[in-house]
Symmetry: C2
Amino acid sequence: MFELDIRSRKPIYEQLVERLKELIITEVLKIDEQLPSVRTLAQQLTINPNTIQKAYRELEIQGYIYSIKGKGSFVSSANDSQNTEKLHKVKNDLIKLLSEAMYLGVTAEELITIIEEIQASIGGGIEHDQN
Amino acid sequence: MFELDIRSRKPIYEQLVERLKELIITEVLKIDEQLPSVRTLAQQLTINPNTIQKAYRELEIQGYIYSIKGKGSFVSSANDSQNTEKLHKVKNDLIKLLSEAMYLGVTAEELITIIEEIQASIGGGIEHDQN
DNA sequence: GTAGTGTACTACGACTCATAGTACAGTTGA
DNA sequence: TCAACTGTACTATGAGTCGTAGTACACTAC
């Protein structure tokens, strides 16, 4: 489920944040699904529970999960009021990355194909839920 | 030209790398154009020349610039053999970010519009050069 | 020879990260 | 009511990274 790259410059808690975010976005983890507990995941990954807690806290701040003392941590629904600010940041990052991709030779057509592939794998599911 | 966010968690040299990369990608800095020298830019930004050198070295590793001892640092042309590996990384990052954007409610149409806008501002220039 | 250029190294202090350890608050089920 | 789970928060410590100051070498151009 998780592959931590201990030798990466990227902090372990950030790798966790990214990986969990991916699992939520790709709907491997569903809304209201419970995440592994801080202690359980720490044991599984052989890292400190505080490190897990730091990742979970960041995900909560970004609105991806919610936590209840005594019960656990769960996946949030996507429509969160925080998202407008986060959306702005994601769009800014996207513009930079898309520019870089095009600078490196990726065509607009290739990029559009990537978007369509993503839409087919997750976008359709979201639209289906909205019916 | 540069705005460094001293309070950012992001290291200064990484901010420099990103900003210079943007200037190269958007063709504010042109191929073979000389960058400010390490010492000059350090003075302008009131930071250490070693910090500048670190940023310039990273840009050189990524293939965006080339440096000549005694002469200076210059913008590389885009078609560099390293780019296939970097392209792969950029594509992977893009897929994640595009997925996140769509998860947050950005439609495929909006994303395509963004791509077209980028293409209009820099892509056209690149295609023009290829004529 | 001077004045510019890049490059590399050491040493140091500040900061971040991950850890170990501990403790408190809450929930649930027996 | 208690045990076993859950989340949350804190301190202290060591390791690693970052940016700095300082220094020195190699190169180019005039």
